[in-house]
């Protein structure tokens, strides 16, 4: 039997939280004039489960 493959995890630096990830993303988005609030908005979701016309 092949040795077990090690899982690939989403790790954060010691003491970091998803709020820190959010701040980092916010800075990058702001540099191109985008707001993270727009990405979070419910009406921003696309449902690609239906074929495009």
């Amino acid at each position: 039997m092949e040795p077990v493959k090690l899982p690939a995890g989403y790790l954060l630096p010691e003491g970091a939280t998803m709020a820190d990830v959010r701040r980092l993303e916010l800075e990058l988005l702001a540099s191109e004039g985008l707001k993270i609030e727009d990405l979070q908005a419910e009406d921003g979701r696309k449902d690609d489960s239906q074929p495009q016309q």
Binding site: M1, V4, A8, G9, Y10, E14, L28, L39, K46
Partner: protein
């Protein structure tokens, strides 16, 4: 909205072609749970007769917000991870989606990145925006995991930007990294 529903919607939000690709490589299963993921993954692997993870790997994976368990073809997400604490409803839903996209990006990368891509991990980190690079270096990834981590996180951020109709290369992302990620995940938006 429950975390399970958020992740289900994040799956449906993937471009059809990306979903087809994930189905083709057997990466269309996930489980949202409230457990330390290293211990959980180890239990699942042992139940499936795949053997146990080394103790150090279990401890490391217990720190993870989410895991791609390649041997079981399943994404695991720990919705009770303390890293999610303090986020408001919309931020939490967005971050759960980001984590799910990240793990599907991991699945694509682990199956499709080539040896040379993996060997170039450190080079790709050097091309990232400073804060992003610092995050990757400090998170405790091994250098041979850098490539997969970059693919996963860039893919996740591309999915977020897609919500507002931005599907081209982000101006802050080096063209070499963008083209490499596009090739690996098949991003053709």
């Amino acid at each position: 909205m429950s975390a399970r529903e958020v992740v289900r919607r994040a799956w449906l939000e993937l471009p059809q072609g990306d979903r087809n690709l994930l189905v083709a490589i057997g990466a269309d299963q996930w489980q949202v749970c409230e457990r330390a993921l290293g211990t959980f993954a180890d239990e699942l692997l042992r139940s499936a007769g795949r053997g146990s993870l080394p103790a150090g790997e279990i401890a490391r994976a217990n720190r993870a917000v989410a895991l791609w368990v390649a041997d079981l073809r399943v994404v695991l997400i720990n919705e009770s991870h303390e890293a999610f604490d303090g986020l408001d409803g919309l931020s939490l839903a967005y971050n759960l989606s980001r984590v799910a996209w990240h793990e599907w990006g991991h699945a694509l990368s682990l199956d499709r990145a080539e040896h040379d891509d993996i060997a170039a991990g450190e080079h790709y980190v050097e091309l990232l925006p400073e804060g992003f690079a610092k995050f990757v270096r400090r998170a405790g990834y091994r250098p041979r995991e850098y490539t997969h981590e970059i693919v996963a996180e860039v893919y996740s951020m591309l999915m977020g930007r897609r919500r507002v109709g931005q599907t081209e290369r982000p101006p802050w992302l080096h063209v070499e990294v963008y083209e490499f990620v596009r090739r690996v995940v098949g991003w053709n938006q």
